[in-house]
Symmetry: C2
Subunit: 82 residues, 2 copies
Amino acid sequence: MKFRAEIDIMPQKAILDPQGKAVKSGLKNLGIEVEDVRIGKHITILLDAPDKNTAAARIDEACVKLLANQIMETFQYEIFEE
Amino acid sequence: MKFRAEIDIMPQKAILDPQGKAVKSGLKNLGIEVEDVRIGKHITILLDAPDKNTAAARIDEACVKLLANQIMETFQYEIFEE
């Protein structure tokens, strides 16, 4: 079966996000006032797996071992059947 | 009212995604076989607005004017009441 994982990797709340701060001030210059901006990564992975649990386990492993730096980032994902 | 916008900005399907290709091959080296990887940005914005439609209009404007390069990227967002 084919699955699609939608993964968000965001900077931890305690970590400064200078890119977010820059975007916030850029938006202000455009007249769009916002309270806070946090910028991270969105990763879409397509994979084949026998079932949803196996797909989730594989995505979890990918996040822990390669995609997210858990010292500075948090990750969350959702798995969809394609 | 306070709203939270969760925005995904992804490379267009027709556009090559070398970062995604690199991650795919990195995952393969870890023994995790996947079919495709696409990498984009995830942006969380907190804002004050009188209602959800106004919040959505403001986020749409932010995406079009600053956050997404629509030649190469697509964006989608969801607005949540905080």
